[in-house]
Symmetry: C2
Subunit: 573 residues, 2 copies
């Protein structure tokens, strides 16, 4: 490709809209263009890279036994009503109607449709296991599209679906995908770690996210530096222990606390740590008020809470809702509370003599004890792990790991789900077993977003001058720079080399433009092809070419006639 | 691929929903599945074929200098309002809103978006010509999706856009695409002819459709068997001549015609041919009534009429509308008609003494003559060519061709448009010329629908037993059939050959199923791979394999050890 003809221009300035280094570089390199919030066009260099990413994904999915097919983006609403996800995913569904008022969804994922295909084509256990996938457009009305390509409203996803006869089969399919994902991210040059995650609206059991750790990520993970436990903060378990040494329960006592509406103010006033208090938090769960109790120094993990409540729509109550529900903001407490569901963190029964709201204005209670003074309808782990929370992973030999964990941010590159029989039962995906009995198929679902992966590739492979493309996904292998190409000897040598390298099967970007050496070298660094080859009056005087790897500072001169073989060797290394 | 694992099952029965041979075969072969009206999923065999079609298109677009990129399906409505096509294409636009009530369109085509990209990336005449394309999903709310894959509501289109500095450049880009299209359809095994067509809502000047002639097509073409003139009936020109020998104009005369409401009834009553009458037809053009006059034996060509009126929304008036507009149904006529726009076919001034409506109930006029008795506001060609219409194509040497033309039906495989400066001017796509002056870019647009092409491939390449895939797009090259694969010698020989052929780089579908020879051979014929290779106890007794080309009736036995080389030779031939 001649740069004089390439569609897409590099920019000197970093556009103000860019939020992260990858976003800045993708814009500066002229690779992408935003058409609407979270909706992008991909110019030729970006598209070549995305096609390389797709090729790698395809190779790994095929090697794992996947069969590629293609499902549509338009789904009849009835399919989503049947699974119940017209409600569970309603916040992000794009819905629309045709001219005959039939309603449709733009597919945010394809479990419903693949189950339809399964029902038409699979009869018997002999047809299983089945692994089918597509690389296709998804549509999600994300409320806050951000970070360039990190959170898009239209994006490309490889989604593979596995169907097995039983859970052992699912475990095997899941393992295959897990390993294929490790290889894919590795080949794309993005270091990732698998972390335990939440299955959210997907339903099902086990799930892992593959995370690229970066401060620009929007996911938060807990990592154990000793045993390797890794989990999304949404689901991270940790060792919970009482904050204080054991003491005898004391009699409950009401005290006036006018003006003390926060845990911190209350603790400061009483001269106690916040861990000596019980905090009340109010949620609306599918429209019903819920009273949530947790130790004063801890925060509620909404994912754990949502799971414990089996709720579809969970949100923090507004002050109006709190009052309307009959709670006393600032001094609400569980003691004596009637007619409302109470859920408490499971650490509370092990804490003694806590301070809690008195459930009347401007008053709190001292020495509140779980069991004696109040009880929850649900008692379970709803606490958020934080930096330094102790690792609760266990091994047969040593019990709990108990190492303080690190909190790190990261980008989710892909996710694998053990869906189990949820969709098969809801939507009727069954097969006949060896005894001729109808049984539900056991499903898994496995996704990778290719544009997000592209962003992570750039995030993980750049320096202050620009992108450094990994070998397998680089849009071009060689960036051929001709300095003063209008001079006959340069033009001739560069054109000849350009032709030769292409004949040899290399993908070459040829800077044939009428620009200064500074502009050309800056663009070569910004665009990031692995090998820069320069032909100039100076190199030709010495009968040579200059080779410089993008990832290295040094360049070398090689004899003209050794050019092609040295270039080949450099790219192979 | 082992057939025992292939996702997609052949059917014994032809599904009732299938309208055309290609649709029947695609369903019977288990290649496609309808998810909603005009919305399909493509199973692995179909998807492999579509990918091959995409590869061919890509190769030809790249060879013609096209650069591939990718634009989104979600378009802000503002872009479509700017071009005016939110109205011009409103009947087929899918519109929807996000959660913040911003309105979007699902792109039915991408002129608006590519112009946005052009504006960001092109500055100067030095950047032109530019040819950019994508292979991407399109969405059109077709009122009557039909014929399986012929008219879809979601479909894949290769759309290339050309930008040139002037119309000579556009002619060159257009010619490149025209020739590339010929090669693409040829490589896909579909004979096509380019025909002159209507540019419809695309705007612009010249346009050709590439038509595959078949009785199952929904387009109608006029073809001259002598000179090769070919045009869609929408735009077909023809030689128009007076139906009768010249005679002197006679005085106008009113006659009573009670109960004679049709041209045929009138002509029968008067004992004259319909060509001796003048027919009145009523249209609503952008809400305004229009009186259309044409010779009684001819039909109005609505595309020509729409162009002549420069109207966006043209429809035949209902009886209520006719009456409301003040026309006299059954005996309306142009003589004395006031206050309404009259458009007449340009043949009428050359006809003498016609019978026309008297513009009052139950009366007609004899000897009506254009010019003397009435005049049109617009006089132009608005007549539909029919079987036997005379070819009006001219050559320098011989004047009009005048050969009677044939009417044929066909499927439109692709269309190329000279858009000119319409979009550039509407949307501001300009470049600086060599003198530094802003000028509008001259655009072309060139589309191919891949699923429709797939349907045409099957329509053009099948027999009563099934599909016969052309070599370049076949999902697999070899259909390896093992008869009684449970017998050791068969299983071993077939597995070995399967492995060997794959190692040699052939795409092999291997029927390893526990089925009868009849079922296997029927499926091989139905699925249509170019070469069937059979391993059975009988062939092995003779130390051989059976090779049969799908397109030929005869099979041949070849020695086992020559198998791979003979297969290779057969596929190469």
């Amino acid at each position: 490709m001649r740069m004089s003809r390439l569609f897409g221009k590099t920019l000197r300035q970093t556009p103000a809209e860019a939020e992260t280094p990858s976003h800045q570089l993708l814009l500066r390199a002229g690779l992408v263009h935003q058409v609407a919030a979270g909706v992008y066009a991909f110019l030729p260099l970006a598209w070549r890279t995305l096609q390389n990413i797709e090729r790698i994904i395809r190779e790994e999915m095929d090697a794992a036994g996947g069969q590629e097919l293609m499902m549509p983006a338009i789904h009849p609403i009835e399919l989503w009503q049947a699974s119940g996800r017209d409600q569970a995913m309603k916040d992000i569904l794009f819905r629309f109607s045709d001219k005959r008022d039939r309603e449709f969804v733009l597919g945010p994922t394809h479990e419903e449709v693949i189950v339809e295909l399964f029902k038409r084509n699979i009869r018997s256990y002999r047809d299983l296991p089945l692994l089918v996938y597509q690389i296709q457009q998804k549509f999600r009305d994300e409320p806050r599209p951000r970070g360039g390509l990190i959170r898009l409203r239209q994006f490309t996803m490889k989604d593979l679906y596995s169907f097995d006869t039983d859970f052992e089969g699912l475990d095997l399919s899941y393992r295959k995908m897990y390993e294929a994902y490790i290889r894919i991210f590795d080949r794309c040059g993005v270091p990732t770690i698998p972390v335990l995650a939440d299955s959210g609206a997907m339903g099902g059991r086990d799930t892992h996210e593959f995370i690229y750790l970066t401060e620009y990520g929007e996911d938060t993970c807990l990592l154990c530096p000793k045993c390797g436990y890794a989990a999304n903060a949404d689901v991270a378990a940790f060792v919970k222990e009482p904050a204080h040494t054991a003491e005898e329960p004391k009699p409950i006592e009401e005290i006036p606390t006018p003006g003390l509406y926060t845990i911190q103010a209350l603790a400061d006033h009483l001269g106690i740590p916040t861990s000596k208090t019980c905090k009340a938090v109010f949620y609306s769960a599918d429209g019903e008020p819920v009273f949530v109790a947790i130790r004063g120094d801890m925060d509620v993990n909404e994912t754990k809470l949502s799971r414990a409540l089996r709720t579809v729509d969970l949100h923090y109550m507004s002050e109006d809702e709190v009052v309307a529900a009959g709670f006393v903001p600032g001094s609400a407490g569980a003691v004596g509370l009637k007619g409302v569901r109470i859920i408490a963190d499971d650490l509370l029964p092990r804490e003694v003599n806590l301070v809690a709201g008195a459930n009347k204005p401007d008053a709190h209670l001292l020495n509140v004890n779980y069991g004696r003074d109040w009880q929850a309808d649900t008692l379970t782990d709803i606490a958020l792990a934080v930096e330094g929370s102790l690792c609760s992973a266990t091994s047969d030999k040593q019990g709990e790991c108990r190492t303080p964990m690190d909190v790190r941010r990261g980008i989710e590159m892909g996710q694998v789900f053990k869906l189990g029989t949820f969709y098969a039962e809801k939507l009727g995906a069954t097969y006949l077993d060896a005894e001729g009995k109808q049984r539900p198929a056991v499903m898994g679902s496995y996704g990778i977003g290719t544009e997000r992966l592209l962003a992570a590739v750039v995030e993980a492979n750049h320096d202050e001058r620009g992108i450094i493309w990994p070998a397998e996904i680089t849009p071009f292998q060689v960036h051929l720079v001709a300095l003063q190409p209008e001079r006959d000897e340069v033009g001739t040598a560069a054109e000849k080399l350009y032709g030769r390298l292409q004949t040899d099967g290399f993908a070459v970007l040829y800077d044939d433009r009428d620009e200064t050496p500074g502009v050309k070298f800056n663009d070569a660094d910004l665009l990031g092809m692995p090998l820069r080859v320069t032909v100039s009056p100076r190199t030709l005087e010495k009968g040579s070419l200059e080779l410089k790897r993008r990832s290295e500072a040094e360049s070398e001169l090689v004899p003209l006639d050794e050019g092609p073989s040295r270039i080949k060797a450099s790219l192979a290394s």
